[in-house]
């Protein structure tokens, strides 16, 4: 009996370790987005390319695309930028939301670091950000060809995020069949789109 008692700490630790293991697959920042499977909110905002001429939802691509929230004050956005460039080269359409930023700085940033965006709207006051439920930059939404948000990612898009989370859904949306989308959603390798 005395000897058995000594196993108690090991047992408790085992329970804790199980808990942590479970915890690793949960993301505490992972709040379900209210806009998942809802259309992109309507907006009329100027673009960085031409700050005098506002554009609206009609300017958004008619095929699946990424909606990327970025700003020059956000170091992670800088880290993410090179990867977005390579995605754009592969033909992925990306629309930028320049979030609570200074227009001149943002234009200079795109000149220096290359511009992966089809266009970037200027959301200086963060109104579109509020409508979208943005936590902070960077954030990326995957939108289908009818303008419905299908996936959301908080934090930078890198190779791992793209291949494990966004690409399967993106490819399903490009293929355009409901079947492909369901396959992507039920694939255990695909992380949740919240």
């Amino acid at each position: 009996m005395g000897r058995l008692k000594l196993f108690l700490p090991l047992f408790i630790f085992g329970m804790l370790a199980l808990l942590f293991w479970r915890g690793l697959s949960l993301d505490p920042r992972d709040m379900p987005s209210a806009l998942l499977n809802k259309p992109v909110p309507s907006f009329t905002l100027p673009t960085l390319a031409d700050p005098d001429k506002p554009v609206g939802n009609e300017a958004l691509p008619g095929e699946p695309y990424l909606l990327n929230v970025w700003a020059t004050w956000c170091p992670t956005c800088k880290a993410e930028h090179a990867y977005l460039n390579s995605l754009a080269e592969q033909g992925v359409k990306i629309v930028g939301i320049n979030y609570k930023d200074e227009t001149v700085k943002a234009q200079r940033w795109l000149q220096e670091l290359d511009d992966p965006y089809v266009f970037s709207v200027i959301d200086a006051e963060g109104r579109l950000g509020i409508d979208l439920g943005v936590f902070g930059a960077p954030e990326t939404y995957l939108v289908d060809r009818s303008g419905v948000i299908r996936c959301k990612h908080i934090g930078d898009v890198n190779d791992r995020v793209w291949t494990q989370k966004l690409a399967p859904v993106y490819e399903a949306l490009v293929a355009g069949t409901l079947e492909a989308l369901n396959n992507a959603a039920s694939n255990p390798a695909v992380q949740h789109c919240r």
Partner: protein
């Protein structure tokens, strides 16, 4: 080139520590003295290699080599050079390297200062430390390599060290913390070595004690410095938030405090052996757990370390291996507890047992509160966060009980103390503490406040009981001055640490009770008053720092008509971008802080200003300083040096009486 040298040094360090993990341990099993001795030179070798790696990273920072990803993320060419050097540990990868460097330093120190210990024991200790080092090196090389390059398109400018970290307090906070965490690994290694070797005698406790006390002292200072930094840098005057990351450093401290006290019993009386071993394992496990919680992203915290699930999985695996393995070893090898009670309930052992019980309850409360969001999430109970009310509700009364027990126990003798004698010893400090407690609220504030009276009672009881004990223990000196030489350094260390606890307790409680905070809108020339303090706002000016522009407010502070000075709170915009930083202006003296933070520009020259009057706040950290110094004084005791010199003779497990 230089980063590659650093990377190479890390790889060699991994290989050498692999050898250190195996060879001395095998040597100890085979009684091969040459293999056992190899641990010493291996420990020095790993230290030298890690110093090389660390120096390489520092050079990359000083030279602003932005082709190194870690440098590009955490430095900037206009960053002042002292912050470039400190930026080495400003992010995840570099702070791991600093951690490993300190671990190697401690390992080498064990090798250097433990020559007189039995060779088999020290060989096992070094092997255990080597195993931990292997894990840390692997972690760095596979998941968080500080030397990774961004090639061929390396950035021309870095994104700068987080402005929050550009501060002297932040330069020293992490190294002190890591010294503490890592130091507990020595106590852990001694425990494991003792379990493997089967020699669980009191000499084992004596060897472990100084290492544990030094680690504890560093951790005390580190936590206090972090709290002080949060107070003056975060800009809203709080000093403890029960944030998961703060708790991550506080839990090893609680376990370490319990460990120090239980080690004392094990050394002096040969009791609580299994419990002491278990505590040593727990203390180190909690240090590792802290690393896991901070760097894996399982909990949301204000301390945003670069989190990554891959790192989390690695640390969790490491944690399971180290802690699970040692707890299994413990279950198989620890001496079974015999239930015969060898001391009376009015003995020092009994009071130290209570100390341990209370500390472990506090630890459990903090651990539960920290992990509860994770538990709830894992069991699908929804997302919750546990706030300060929960922690304060349990923590404050339990610490009060601990302080009262401390004062009661300090004058108790080992084994048994006559009741009459104890009551007599307790009487005078008890009366004195009561008088001070009842008088204080009137003298300070002009009216009675039972919370303040209770707080002052607890703190002054610890203080007076400690001093009274010193007075009694030195009673056979002929003159008052002669008393000071009558007790040993380790006793003074204990006294200082306990007085430190009293000071911190008083600071925490009185500051909470008597602080005044006011958010006001002020136009130039406006005057606001808090108590006898008057604040006149004289507008703002633009100033330029080395890597930022700032708006600087001018506030003339006076007390009862006499001027104290002009305080200049700032709002800084760093050139590298990011959020605006609030730099509070603080006037500190021993009994109060005046704290001013500049808020937002409200137009037409008006600014929102936060004015705070915070009595006794500096006592919180002053007390921790006492604890840290107390730890230093305690290990300076001659006894530990003598123990080392005599150790070979005492090596046999027979000597229980020491």
């Amino acid at each position: 080139m230089i980063p590659e040298i650093g990377q190479f040094a890390l790889i060699l360090g991994l290989l050498l520590s692999l050898v250190m993990a195996v060879v001395p341990m095998v040597g100890a099993a085979r009684s091969d003295i040459a293999m056992m001795r190899s641990g010493h030179s291996l420990a020095y070798g790993v230290l030298v290699l890690t110093i090389i790696a660390y120096a390489c990273l520092t050079i990359a920072f000083v030279q602003s080599d932005f082709s190194v990803a870690y440098v590009a993320q955490n430095s900037n060419s206009v960053l002042p050079v002292q912050y470039k050097v400190a930026a080495v540990w400003g992010g995840h990868e570099g702070s791991m390297l600093l951690w490993v460097l300190m671990m190697c330093g401690w390992t080498a120190a064990v090798a250097r200062f433990s020559r007189a210990l039995p060779p088999a024991l020290i060989a096992r200790v070094l092997s255990v430390l080597g195993m931990i080092l292997v894990g840390l090196f692997l972690f760095m090389l596979f998941t968080s390599n500080p030397f990774d390059r961004i090639l061929p398109f390396s950035p021309t400018e870095g994104s700068d060290l987080n402005p929050l970290l550009q501060d002297p307090g932040m330069i020293f906070h992490p190294p002190l913390l890591y010294m503490g965490y890592v130091g507990f690994s020595v106590a852990f290694a001694f425990s494991i070595a003792a379990l493997i070797g089967g020699h669980l005698d009191s000499s084992w406790a004596r060897w472990t004690r100084p290492w544990t006390i030094v680690a504890w002292a560093f951790l005390s200072l580190g936590i206090a410095l972090g709290s002080w930094w949060a107070y003056y840098e975060l800009g809203w005057g709080g000093w403890w938030f029960w944030d998961p990351v703060e708790n991550a450093s506080f839990m090893p401290w609680l376990a370490g405090t319990a460990l120090i006290h239980s080690l004392a019993v094990t050394e002096k009386r040969g009791l609580f052996k299994s419990w002491t071993i278990l505590l040593a394992i727990f203390t180190f496990a909690l240090s590792l757990l802290g690393t896991f919680l901070v760097r894996s992203g399982v909990l949301v915290s204000v301390h945003a370390f670069a989190t990554d699930p891959a790192r989390g999985s690695f640390i969790l695996g490491f944690l399971v291996l180290v802690v699970g393995g040692s707890l299994l070893l413990y279950a198989l090898r620890a001496p079974a507890v015999h239930n015969r009670v060898l001391f009376s309930w009015l003995s020092r052992e009994a009071f130290l047992l209570w100390n341990n019980v209370v500390l472990v309850i506090v630890l459990a409360v903090v651990l539960l509160g920290t992990l509860y969001p994770l538990i709830a999430d894992a069991l699908n109970l929804g997302r919750v966060s546990v706030g300060p009310p929960y922690f304060n509700f349990f923590f404050v009364p339990l610490m009060g009980v601990l302080c009262v027990l401390l004062g009661l126990g300090i004058s108790a003798n080992w084994k048994k103390t006559p009741k009459d004698r104890l009551l007599k010893l307790w009487l005078k400090p008890q009366v004195l503490a009561l008088v001070v407690a009842l008088a204080f609220p009137f003298l300070f504030d002009g009216q009675f406040d039972w919370k303040a009276a209770l707080a002052v009672y607890v703190a002054s009881w610890v203080l007076f009981a400690s001093l009274a004990d010193w007075y009694t223990k030195t009673g056979n000196a002929r003159t008052f001055g002669g008393r000071f030489g009558k007790v040993r350094a380790s006793y003074y260390g204990m006294l200082l640490a306990h007085i430190g606890l009293a000071i911190t307790a008083a600071g925490v409680t009185l500051n909470t009770i008597y602080s005044v905070e006011r958010d006001v809108r002020m136009l130039p020339g406006d005057v606001q008053a808090i108590g006898h303090y008057e604040f006149r706002f004289d507008g703002v000016e633009r100033v330029r720092g080395p890597n930022y522009m700032a708006v600087e407010g001018r506030v003339l502070v006076s007390h009862g008509g006499s001027e104290i000075g002009v305080l200049k709170p700032q709002k800084r915009n760093y050139f590298s971008g990011g959020n605006t930083m609030t730099e509070a202006a603080i006037d500190t003296d021993l009994f109060r802080d005046v704290f001013i933070a500049l808020g937002d520009n409200m137009g037409k020259g008006a600014w929102s200003v936060r004015l705070q009057y915070k009595p006794f706040v500096v006592w919180i950290w002053l007390g921790a300083l006492f604890m840290g110094i107390g730890g230093g004084v305690a290990v300076a005791d001659k006894r530990y040096r003598r123990a080392r010199a005599k150790a070979p003779v005492q090596a046999a497990p027979v000597l229980q009486s020491a």
